[in-house]
Symmetry: D2
Subunit: 171 residues, 4 copies
């Protein structure tokens, strides 16, 4: 039985909305946890994440270390009976997926790519009014490089809820 | 070495501000995770938490089950090297502490009571503009019943940062 | 020259996203002000707005009085040179529009209906995780009763940005 | 009868909390409107406000123009019967006050300085986890230069609600 759904997509691709839709479709409570949850939990200063003015995001070794412990903890939650939707951004593409595969070893994981055309994602980013712009365009393709999926959805022309239904059908 | 600091206090007692101050005082990154993080991660409907109009909060067995898995996961994060400030509300008083003691068995935990005079907490709640009012007054004493602490701070007349410094000195 | 764009639609119809898209499309700065801005500015208690558990929203005479002053102020901003997108919910249908027509007398207003199928709006509401559910379904048709528009858009199957472009073309 | 209370203070001085406390103390609904309300209403890009990495904030002529229309609108709201607490940051000190005096000409305004020791404000800023740090220290004294008040409060050692009570007593 699937215990983890990993949604990987760039900023403003619609991952979080898909995740929230999944919660309304799937039976029983599913937790939505993501890299944003981790960043919010970290100190505002010294968290090891740097958002450049051009939309680039870089993380240091300190962040990688905390992230590894975080993922180990999520795996333990799932082994203890929780079901979790991971809302993630694979800045390192295939390398990011490898790290997560290691952390989630032995768990039944559904890997989902959430794609969105870079130009449309950039429009959504502008409309959301995020103060850091450029992430949507920068990440749109980058995060999918070398990543393998069980399923891919594309929010460019498909409603969020329809994307979520396609995913839910595979759980 | 302390790996977990548990802050327990009623709504509007100032726990979260104390937790954020602790992050600026303690060396290395500490994660702030709390019952609010869990509630945000759960589905909006069907999470098993009910906020009554009078400020009462009740949770059902489904929530307790997810919460147990959540705490197991946090313990695993700490064993994997993360350090965590838990921002909690012991609605069940001593019984809540027992559950957490079981989940955190073997970890070095600092138990901290965050007190605030009920009337002052209610004023802060009103000023914060939370749409559910009454929680501050209801929880001010309730959450401390039968709970034992390593340290207690009182935000009624003491600055948040001063409270945090007293806690940091014990870590 | 259009100085005010009034977007009227039910909760979760996508009005706010359309408004934010308009800001990225229109030349010069446009302010987005709406009933949510007013509610945020009011005291949490005693604002005269009641959100029922079934998604019904009612307002009292006190709120109507503040709202009238608010609209008078917005009209004055526009006369002083600001351009404003109003993000509104006509709970009173035609009567709400009459009140706004009076307040904006003499200004060049573009009236836009933002429609969304009730079932789709309810799905979006669920996915957004708003704690008050039911408003999307309740308001979907109600807010358009007897209202006349210069233009209507429908977000059920049309991208937010496309809806915004159709509106921008009329400004 | 006082129709406007202007609270001027640096970032993290506690102005907003004082404003929300005032709403719970004063009879009738008071609106809290501030420079943050205006910034939220503006487009994310091209609003004419620049937040430098060192905590400096600068605005351009476009912003000044919108701000003037905004203040004219608020004055009209008050003339139409609304009562408003302005939550402001006089980046230009005395020049900012002059602009507001002009906009609010003929209204009964209570001018309040909200002071906070720079070091304490900086600690609060750090604890709040704002991503832009440095504003608290930069603005603590700057915003009061050449400004005249009816009343000053200092949140360094005085509870927010006590500060609000001192202000409410003058309304």
């Amino acid at each position: 039985m699937t215990g983890v759904i990993v949604l990987n997509g760039g900023s403003s691709s619609g991952k979080t909305s898909v995740a929230r839709c999944l919660q309304t479709l799937l039976p029983g409570p599913w937790l939505v946890l993501g890299v944003d949850t981790l960043i919010d939990a970290l100190p505002a200063a010294g968290a090891g994440v740097d958002f450049a003015d051009d939309g680039g995001v870089s993380v240091d070794a300190g962040f990688r270390s905390v992230e590894a412990a975080w993922n180990t903890g999520i795996a333990a939650m799932v082994r203890a009976g929780a079901r979790v939707v991971i809302d993630d951004v694979f800045l390192g593409g295939a390398a990011s997926q490898r790290r997560l595969r290691t952390a989630f070893d032995g768990l039944d994981v559904l890997w989902v790519g959430v794609r969105c055309d870079a130009a449309v994602a950039a429009e959504r980013e502008a409309a959301r009014g995020d103060r850091v712009t450029g992430m949507a365009a920068t990440q749109a393709d980058l995060v999918h490089r070398g990543v393998t999926y069980d399923l891919e959805v594309d929010t460019t022309h498909t409603e969020t809820m329809e994307c979520a239904k396609a995913i839910a059908a595979r759980v």
